[in-house]
């Protein structure tokens, strides 16, 4: 726990720095972090101004974008933040992920982790303290998640760019013996208009870098932005259309060997015994070994190519012990029912006195519903993989990952090396969606590489291995009830959500041995923190411990609570005889950003114009990760099968840094959510996951993909995220549309159990 103590101490230090660097307006002095991780690896003629920028004498400008590029476009937009203030074009810079370092801690995700509705500025102190105790452990952990990259870096990277620009001008001023304010910086060149002299940033870099902590800088007003707020071509696009070797699976090192693993398919189960003799005698096989890690027990093969490793691992016979989990999904569901029937619960926000209203309510004014959602796999296109090289003195890991410092912790536990002896290279990611925050694949690769000291080992999982081992989006069961008033409007709502705790499960994996208790607001996100004006309101959570590893899946708690909550709002509307869009509009009247997206999506979808027979619409709304989103789904009846024909989406993240990319993210979130809502589920039988590949865990195909239009608004006063907010509303919007066309309410995902789709 000593390393964690260090982390916590550091977190306070960084907290203070975040405050001094967090001034958005006026002049400020760049608060240099105590450690710039770029300093120790500088080449000849290279200067670093801060953890985000290197400039070399030959005019190479390198921006560090310290978040994983997993498709969300942060690689380009993060660089744009710094480039805007540095006064360089995106064509002039190269972008690197950079090293794993506490300097790149994620502050915004911690703020998002606070158990407070995002529309509410008043603090519920008690619950805040309880949950911040959990969240603080994430502080100074470098990870990509929570739709936080832009929110986290909006100030940090602009300040870094502005301070460097002023330092470059100051260096030129000193060189030419003129006043700094008389100089101009543009497109990587400092010019003295009076004399016509000029110098490139590269020519000034070595003199300028030491000045960057001393100069004063001012951020550009938005009206002066030339890069931000405008669509930028993605800087990774060329590599991605030419098949360049940019992903983890493409890592190729001299003398490299190839490996694969087969881990116990029953979570937490041990290996009783295994026979690797047949595998050992197969061509190209170097070693067959056992793996015993906090993330699972199993076997590994090291061979001279990936295919030979795959073949050999099939030849190993293993006697598995079943893990300490309920044997089947049915048994797990029974535990959820018991949790809902029981009294052990927590709630984070209560309005009015809902129990009193229910005690007095007449039966005919009640609406009740129970909803079920399944475990889900992330199913990234690139299967889990990592490459590791272990020597007697240090460790090097190349991995498509969302948590480089989490990998450092894992490597330190395995090898006993200090963090400065553990180098993590973050490649491009073939999809992440939360799966790649997990350190399991890197942990296994390091353990395998330990057996082949001095030789790099590339570990690649089969798709089957990937699909049958979580951590999964948890299953959940929810009960909602409402009392309607005489006008058919909701007077009171009580909701209960039973689900395994993602925070408890995930932190237990990232920091084994760390006790994690208390409320988990992610279990209630999407329900307790929605801005509906319902006078008497309470959502409670019931943690269900199944010992099945669960993790962060695109939009986390919103991925299930928005489905249930927004389905239930729809049920209330229909029970009370109201148009579901009009009722939402009324309940959200206090929030202009909410009304903005609702009205916009009503416009886009021509909500008030009825559709021809055989077609229908459904709407849903969510405020998640700071972004207000309303979505309308249009469906059509094709001879008894449902076709999803159109999706309309209006989103308000306050500030749009790249409209093209933001829209692409919303589209992406919609397709990801539709895939889950229509057909995805992970189920257990005999303690083992039943699904194994895309034949029984498919995703939306191009032929099923609706036409999607997205419009963006900027009414919100806070900046919101992009990666996740598109996903939550699409699932209930689809179920609500199906109700509108068939009159049947579907309360269990995936919908394909009850609804035939085209």
């Amino acid at each position: 726990m000593s390393t964690l103590g260090t982390v916590t101490r550091r977190s306070f230090l960084f907290g203070a720095i975040a405050l001094t660097g967090g001034v958005a307006f006026g002049y400020y002095r760049y608060a240099t972090p105590p450690e710039n991780p770029l300093e120790k690896d500088l080449g000849a003629g290279e200067a670093t101004f801060n953890p985000y920028l290197k400039i070399s004498s030959d005019n190479r400008i390198t921006i560090i974008a310290p978040r994983a590029e997993m498709g969300q476009g942060s690689y380009t937009t993060l660089a744009a933040l710094l480039a805007e203030e540095l006064d360089v074009t995106l064509d002039q810079v190269t972008i690197e992920h950079g090293p794993a370092s506490a300097a790149y801690y994620n502050a915004a995700a911690m703020r998002e982790g606070a158990p407070l509705p995002q529309f509410d500025d008043g603090l519920v102190a008690e619950s805040l303290r309880g949950a911040l105790g959990v969240v603080a452990k994430l502080v100074s952990i470098q990870f990509t998640g929570g739709s936080s990259s832009m929110i986290d870096h909006f100030d940090k990277l602009r300040h870094a760019g502005a301070a460097a620009r002023e330092a470059l001008k100051a260096a030129a001023a000193a060189r030419w013996n003129v006043a700094t304010y008389s100089l101009e910086a543009n497109a990587g060149v400092v010019t003295d208009p009076a004399s016509g002299r000029s110098a490139t940033y590269g020519e000034l870099a070595l003199e300028a870098a030491p000045l960057s902590a001393k100069v004063e800088a001012r951020l550009k007003p938005r009206s002066d932005w030339t890069i931000l707020g405008k669509p930028q071509p993605r800087k990774d696009m060329l590599a991605k259309v030419t098949g360049a070797p940019i992903f983890g699976v493409d890592v190729d090192l001299p003398d490299m060997l190839y490996a694969t693993v087969r881990m116990n398919p029953s979570p937490g189960g041990r290996v009783r015994s295994f026979d690797g003799n047949a595998a050992r005698s197969m061509p190209g096989v170097e070693q067959v070994i056992a793996i015993d890690s906090p993330y699972g027990q199993g076997v590994a093969v090291i061979a001279d190519n990936t295919w030979r490793a795959f073949k050999a691992i099939e030849a190993i016979t293993v006697e598995w012990e079943m893990g300490p989990i309920p044997a089947s999904t049915t048994e797990m569901e029974a535990l959820h029912t018991a949790a809902l029937d029981g009294t052990d619960s927590f709630s984070l926000r209560t309005l009015g006195d809902p129990d009193l209203v229910f005690a007095d309510a007449a039966r005919e004014n009640l609406v009740e519903a129970e909803y079920d959602v399944p475990f889900l796999s992330h199913a990234t296109m690139e299967p889990m993989n990592a490459t590791a090289l272990v020597t007697d003195t240090d460790v090097e890991v190349w991995a498509p990952n969302q948590g480089p410092t989490i990998i450092q912790y894992a490597a330190a536990r395995i090898t006993g090396f200090e963090h400065d002896k553990i180098k993590v290279h973050t490649t491009f990611l073939g999809g992440g969606f939360g799966r790649r925050i997990e350190p399991d694949y890197a942990d296994y690769a390091i353990r395998i590489a330990q057996r082949m000291k001095g030789r790099p080992i590339k570990l690649v999982w089969t798709r089957e291995e990937d699909m049958t081992h979580g951590p999964y989006r948890p299953m959940a069961k929810s009960r909602y009830k409402a009392v309607l008033d005489q006008n058919g409007k909701p007077k009171a709502v009580i909701g209960s959500v039973a689900s395994p705790s993602v925070i408890a499960s995930a932190l237990g994996r990232y920091f084994p041995g760390l006790p994690v208790g208390g409320p988990d607001n992610s279990l209630l996100d999407g329900a307790y923190n929605q801005p509906y004006a319902i006078e008497n309101y309470r959502i409670d959570g019931r943690k269900v411990d199944l010992a099945v590893p669960v993790g962060f899946w695109r939009s986390v708690g919103y991925s299930f609570n928005t489905f249930t909550h927004e389905s239930f709002i729809d049920e209330i509307a229909h029970a009370g005889g109201h148009d579901p869009l009009a009722l939402r509009r009324e309940l959200l009247a206090a929030h202009p950003a909410a009304l903005g997206v609702i009205d916009k999506v009503a416009d886009m979808s021509a909500w008030s114009t009825p559709l021809p027979k055989g077609q229908a619409r459904g709407i849903a709304f969510a405020l998640s990760f700071g972004t207000w989103v309303a979505e309308v789904v249009e469906v059509a009846d094709r001879n008894g099968a449902i076709e999803v024909t159109k999706v309309f989406c209006a989103a308000d993240p306050g500030i749009v840094l790249d409209p093209l990319n933001f829209k692409a993210q919303m589209m992406s979130g919609i397709v990801y959510g539709l895939s889950a809502a229509i057909g995805q589920e992970i189920t257990f039988t005999d303690g083992v996951v039943q699904q194994s590949n895309f034949h029984d865990y498919d995703a939306l195909r191009i032929s099923q993909c609706p036409a999607i239009s997205v419009e963006l608004l900027e009414n919100s006063e806070r900046m919101g995220g992009a990666g996740e907010p598109g996903t939550p509303p699409i699932m209930p919007a689809l179920a609500n549309a199906i109700f509108a066309i068939t009159g049947k309410r579907h309360r269990r995902l995936p919908l394909s159990h009850e609804v035939p789709f085209v």
């Binding site: 997993m70 990774d236 259309v241 030419t242 098949g243 990936t306 798709r463 692409a664 895309f694």
Partner: protein, 153 residues
């Protein structure tokens, strides 16, 4: 000794003839543009072109390959991108990008056989190529754009 012509270059392999072409390309020939996704011809990430057909290289044994293979690695020539790659850039198709080599090779095979595909033609040809980032609307737009440019060229 097995000989395979890939992107115009002859390569040889004296190992297992049941090695899937995918793994020959990636681990033996050093051509990593073709991606491993599922190993069961379910996702299309490993799509290459053989005899004008889009083929899943994970289910094609290297010993069975007798005609030339085209992969993403050889699609652009020394001076310019293939028009379909350019259309992908113009439409800013890729997100994570992992499936896009397979998507592009399927699109190349489609347009070579059918220079003006309808939306239904695109659905039929591309439905075997999974994308988890949801880039389908832009893939469709890029195929139409490339078709227009190839027809006009």
């Amino acid at each position: 000794m097995i000989k395979v012509k890939i992107n115009g270059q002859e390569q040889s392999w004296d190992g297992d003839p049941d090695l899937p072409l995918l793994w020959f390309l990636r681990d033996e020939a050093g051509l990593t543009g073709t991606k491993f996704g599922c190993g069961q011809a379910l996702c299309g990430a490993c799509t290459v072109i053989i005899d004008g057909e889009a083929v899943r290289s994970c289910q094609t044994l290297v010993g069975d390959v007798i005609t030339p293979v085209r992969t993403i690695d050889g699609l652009a020539d020394d001076t310019s991108l293939h028009p379909i790659q350019q259309a992908w850039i113009d439409e800013q198709v890729a997100q994570c990008g992992y499936c896009q080599a397979g998507q592009i090779m399927s699109a190349v095979a489609l347009l070579e056989a059918n220079p003006r595909p309808t939306d239904d033609d695109i659905d039929a040809a591309m439905t075997g190529n999974l994308c988890r980032c949801g880039t389908y609307p832009r893939i469709r737009a890029a195929i139409h754009r490339a078709a227009g440019q190839l027809a006009g060229a």
